[in-house]
């Protein structure tokens, strides 16, 4: 009887363990599926806001306009139909609100019931018009021609340079500036953090005495525990004004500020991992080097660093990963300009900062909302790639040291 209960108890424990691991794995898989389902829903859609259309005069030979051209037209950058392959005719912009410029209140009716008919009339008599109007106005006896635009594709999403997710009439979803911004900031952060972190790790592992190490190690681990908003605040108060003053810039919120802050944030990762790697160098190997007449520095750079190199690489890549995914601090100090960065002294914008800043304003299930999820997918793939790289390097390391 007792043995039966013992066995039952074991089975229950086993079941609980199995269940928790299944639930965890399932949750991870579901999150990824959810992310990709939402993100991929962006592709194949028209960038014109749902429920609205763009219409032109019936005689206008142009029947398809690219989304980026629509934006330029409504921004006043394209002023003639000729630029779009049409007649020599000035473009007349028309938004639904503009109707009161053309017709009096009586003509439109008390409850604006005549608006669709009047818009149709206006389009019919103005050859150069381009109108951004609700789709339902075009349902009965519409005199104009509805323009088609190109669909959003994954290729355009990755390659286009304009990120205006709320632009009307056609939103611009070009993630390239954000992707480049993220990569720029992250790599520049590593440029700051790797030499500093590696030097600290070497100092702690090889040179510092036990007492110093016992003080430094918890301090560095503390660095990892500081909330990112505090780093962002520090960057905003200290680093941003400093950069503004030193480089004599109009604003200090730049990629450089972002990289410094993210670099500081990546330091604990880099230091702890590379220090561990350096510490795994067998004492006998160091002794062998010293016994051959090498000094401490020669031993460090000819034996210890080559021995620990894969660990150090992994540390650098994980540091990049930390910087790539960092949201709050990047949002606070990079200036958030969604343009392709040409230097670190310009404002730029990272993917996580974009998601954090815009998700609150994006209407659910709208194009903007889905575009942010698509950005999330890109970020996920970036960090996944980074993790796979680390995994690959660590597996190689095991082969070397056996």
């Amino acid at each position: 009887m007792r043995r039966f209960f013992k066995k039952l108890f074991e089975k229950i424990i086993e079941g609980i363990l199995f269940l928790s691991s299944t639930v965890t794995s399932l949750a991870i898989v579901l999150i990824v599926i959810f992310l990709f389902r939402e993100g991929f829903a962006l592709f194949g859609r028209s960038p014109v806001e749902e429920g609205f259309v763009i219409a032109v005069n019936n005689k206008n030979p142009v029947s398809e306009i690219k989304a980026s051209q629509i934006k330029d037209i409504f921004d006043g950058k394209i002023t003639s139909w000729k630029e779009l392959g049409g007649n020599i005719e000035d473009i007349v912009l028309f938004r639904t609100d503009d109707i009161s410029n053309y017709f009096s209140e009586e003509e439109l009716g008390e409850n604006l019931e005549h608006v669709p008919a009047k818009i149709s009339e206006l389009i019919n008599k103005t050859p150069g018009i381009i109108a951004f109007i609700p789709e339902k106005f075009t349902e009965n006896d519409f005199a104009g021609k509805i323009i088609t635009t190109d669909k959003i594709t994954a290729g355009k999403f990755l390659a286009e340079k304009q990120w205006y997710p709320t632009a009307q009439p056609a939103a611009q979803f070009g993630a390239l500036p954000l992707i480049l911004g993220t990569l720029w900031v992250s790599f520049a952060a590593i440029l700051f953090a790797l030499p500093l972190g590696l030097a600290t790790a070497i100092y702690m592992a090889e040179i510092a005495n036990e007492k110093t190490r016992r003080v430094m190690k918890p301090l560095i681990e503390l660095l990892a525990g500081i909330p990112s908003v505090v780093y962002g605040f520090f960057g905003l108060i200290v680093i941003v004004p400093l950069i503004q003053k030193v480089f004599n810039l109009p604003v200090g919120e730049t990629g450089l500020a972002g990289s410094i802050v993210l670099g500081i944030m990546a330091l604990p990762t880099i230091i702890t991992i590379s220090e561990d790697a350096i510490r795994t160098t067998p004492l006998s190997m160091k002794e062998a080097s010293l016994a051959l007449g090498a000094n401490k520095w020669q031993t460090i750079h000819r034996v210890i660093i080559p021995y620990a190199i894969s660990g150090i690489t992994a540390a650098a890549i994980l540091g990049i990963g930390r910087a790539v995914g960092e949201t709050m601090a990047a949002l606070m100090v990079t200036g958030n300009a969604a343009v392709i960065p040409h230097g670190l002294l310009q404002p730029l914008r990272t993917i996580p900062a974009t998601i954090a800043a815009e998700l609150g304003e994006a209407p659910q299930q709208g194009l903007h909302f889905k575009a942010l999820f698509a950005l999330g997918c890109i970020l996920f793939l970036m960090t996944l790639g980074i993790n796979l790289l680390v995994e690959y390097i660590s597996s190689k390391r095991k082969n070397i040291s056996r």
């Binding site: 005495n209 067998p282 006998s284 190997m285 002794e287 062998a288 080097s289 010293l290 016994a291 051959l292 007449g293 090498a294 000094n295 020669q298 000819r302 034996v303 080559p306 021995y307 070397i400 040291s401 056996r402």
Partner: protein
């Protein structure tokens, strides 16, 4: 002989057949060594003759490895070590303040208990000592690497794979590589800290054969736990017990007719 003199010859056989100095004297006088409060060596006085193999034997913790590490100042790496007395290598007190430790370690090579090649190619392992000592001449390094590998009886086994990682060699080959690495910087003394304890019997036999060969050109001090090995390879034997030198003399004499009771007990396997 300095590197410049080697460069003038440029001929491999000249380098390999170079005569080795025989005027070397190693001696310690009243050496005490403390790890903090613990005295690991107690007034050791000993003289070692050139071109001999001296075996240091004794039970674990008797101080024989510590004693061995005096000669290339490897004990310096441990915090809280205090040493008194004189340790003479080549007529100079190596613990005098003006001693160049790098120069000393070039003169006194060391082979460790476990094979510990660097994570580099076979060639670079042997060339390491030359490179850290500032030798850049490619031809010289090449000749030196070959000479050292020939001397450590490894050349025939590795000559076609010098670029391969040292970790691809077997344990015994790795240990001979470590010996070659030590020989490449032209030491006059080679310290060996239980060099065969991590190896199989066949590799051990090869190492012992090698030690016998090396005796012609080098003064060798070897720590060993293996009584048979001490008997086979050494000319003189020193028996240590609890930090003291109990007996030192001709190996045959010590093994057949020990003067001290403790030596006899240890050699006959009553303790240790």
């Amino acid at each position: 002989m300095s590197n410049d003199q080697y460069l003038m010859t440029n001929n491999l056989s000249d380098i390999i057949n170079k005569p080795v100095r025989t005027d070397l004297v190693i001696a310690t006088r009243y050496v005490n060594l403390f790890y903090g409060d613990f005295q690991a060596l107690k007034g050791i006085t000993l003289e070692i003759f050139p071109n001999t193999v001296t075996a240091l034997i004794g039970p674990s913790g008797c101080g024989k490895s510590t004693y061995l590490r005096l000669f290339n100042r490897m004990n310096d790496l441990i915090d809280g070590v205090k040493i008194t007395g004189n340790i003479i290598v080549d007529g100079e007190d190596i613990y005098a303040p003006e001693t160049d430790v790098v120069e000393l370690r070039r003169k006194v090579g060391m082979v460790f208990q476990k094979p510990n090649p660097f994570p580099k190619s076979i060639f670079e392992n042997v060339a390491y000592g030359l490179r850290v000592n500032g030798v850049n001449d490619k031809k010289f390094i090449q000749a030196k690497v070959e000479q050292s590998l020939v001397r450590s009886a490894l050349w025939d086994e590795v000559k076609d794979k010098l670029k391969k990682s040292a970790f691809e060699l077997s344990g015994g080959q790795q240990q001979r590589l470590c010996i070659a690495r030590a020989l490449a910087v032209e030491p006059s003394v080679v310290l060996m800290d239980e060099p065969a304890s991590a190896l199989d019997p066949i590799s051990t036999a090869k190492i012992e054969e090698l030690i016998y060969e090396l005796k012609k050109n080098y003064t060798i001090i070897i720590v060993t736990h293996n009584m048979q090995q001490a008997g086979r390879v050494s000319d003189t034997t020193a028996f240590f017990y609890l930090g003291e030198l109990i007996e030192y003399g001709d190996t045959k004499e010590i093994f057949t007719n020990p003067k001290d009771k403790k030596t006899q007990n240890y050699i006959t396997g009553r303790f240790g």
